[in-house]
């Protein structure tokens, strides 16, 4: 359980003149549930997007399961990776998006079987069986033949989670999974994520603004500020006795917005 699965080694990511990630060192162990909190613009979503190979990095090395994500080894040197390498690395990663990003022109079922059939080479029957198991898990068994637009936001996000799980990733990334939802729909989605966290040894990396939730499910909470990990530790410590001044200020502002 102590093996490192994800490792950022002095990673810098810039958008033009703006440095989003600054010499970031960051690790996630196998099976660990890590929550990233922090103010907007602190680079927390970028960490996930870099891992999902949606954003390339400028400096440093990211390792997934001991292998460099954005680089390939050639003659003993690390060179920027080609698409084939990224494709292979992506197999161990999955992502749940803030805006769900379901394919609107496909039924829920089609959303869930498209990639397993096309990418993993499953037969339609196998993929369908897998889809039905996952839909049962997220409580949407009877919605399989609907289109995403016919579902509520909370239901759509649960489909999003099922779709990512259908690829059997080692690491599942959640990018503010409940931020686009109406408040009354947040609970169902969090319940599914919590159930996942408790029942599976899946490694989870979650960016969220739901502090109570972060406290419940995380093994470790990381406070990001200005592109780097400002403070990290077990949830109880971070929420009750934050050591860093900026962490204290952030938590105070989030937990007591009216003061």
């Amino acid at each position: 359980m102590t093996d490192t699965l994800v490792k950022f080694d002095r990673v810098t990511k810039r958008f033009g003149d703006f440095t989003v990630l600054k010499d970031l060192d960051f690790e996630v162990k196998k099976g660990e549930k890590v929550t990233i909190i922090g103010p907007s613009g602190s680079g927390k979503s970028t960490v996930l997007r870099v891992l999902m190979t949606l954003e390339p990095i400028n400096e440093g090395v990211v390792y997934v399961d001991g292998r460099p994500l954005w680089h390939e080894e050639k003659n003993g040197r690390l060179v920027p990776a080609g698409e084939a390498h990224l494709r292979e690395m992506r197999r161990s990663l999955g992502m749940v998006f803030q805006q769900f990003n379901l394919f609107p022109h496909m039924t829920v079922r089609r959303n869930l079987i498209e990639a397993p059939v096309r990418v993993l080479g499953l037969s339609r029957k196998e993929a369908n069986k897998r889809a039905e198991e996952l839909l049962a898990m997220v409580g949407l068994t009877d919605q399989a033949d609907k289109y995403p637009q016919q579902l509520s936001g909370g239901q759509q996000q649960r489909v999003g989670i099922a779709r990512a799980l259908a690829m059997r990733p080692q690491v599942l990334l959640f990018d503010e999974p409940t931020s686009a939802l109406d408040p009354e729909l947040v609970g169902d989605v969090l319940k599914v994520i919590q159930q996942l966290a408790e029942e599976h040894d899946l490694t989870m990396l979650l960016v969220t603004h739901e502090m109570d939730f972060a406290r419940q499910i995380s093994d470790r909470v990381c406070f990001f500020d200005q592109g780097t990990v400002c403070e990290e530790g077990p949830p109880e410590q971070i929420f009750k006795t934050p050591k860093n001044q900026r962490t204290r200020e952030f938590l105070h502002a989030v937990l007591h917005p009216n003061e």
Binding site: M52, T53, L54, R87, R90, R91, L93, G94, M95, F97, Q99, N101, L102, F103, P104, H105, M106, E114, A115, R118, V119, Y147, P148, Q149, Q150, R163, A164, M167
Partner: protein
Amino acid sequence: MLFGYAWDTSSNWAFAVSILPILLQGMIVTLEATVLGFFIAAVLGLIFAVLRAVPLRLVSWPTIFIVEFFRDTPLLIQLFFLYFVLPEYGLLLPAFLTGAVALGVQYSAYTSEVYRAGLEAVDRGQGEASRALNLPPAHTFIKIILPQAIPRIIPALGNYLISIMKDVPVLSVVTVVEMLNVAKIIGDRTFQYMIPLTMVGALYLIMTLLASYLVRTLDNRLPTQGIPLK
């Protein structure tokens, strides 16, 4: 006498009836040029739109230049160039084909913009989700992006189909015997221009109304289930 049909100038009505089959012969040519020109525009435009979006500047910049060039030069110049200049370099195309290619090339500049706008209207998250699921880029384009772009593209493409139809008479300057040219020939021989020209106008109106009806029907029948169209 044209295409084996003789005209009857005894009365206006008899004249109109007698030249109708002749004009319809021209109309067939007009429709053929429209269909072929539109086909070229639709395919070439998609190729341009895709090449433009390639992240490699070596590819995208020349494409942008070519598209601008086609769009910002008159159809007549392109037509003359294809018809009079290319034969000097050994490429001799029949007049009809030259005309259809000229129409197709000119309109490909417009259709490429239609495709581009349609493709860009598809949310960026769609491509990202597809990438996160490891779907190959070609699959992403054909199965994820394109089906969402097509319902936005069809109505605009339909408008260009009608525009192409209305530009076909330009081909008469390189001797294509389309409907207007037929009417002009009839006028030249009978010294009666009003009736053939009026009939061409009326036939055009019927064709364009019919075409827009067809486009609308097609648009309504497209599978847009679930696609958020704004």
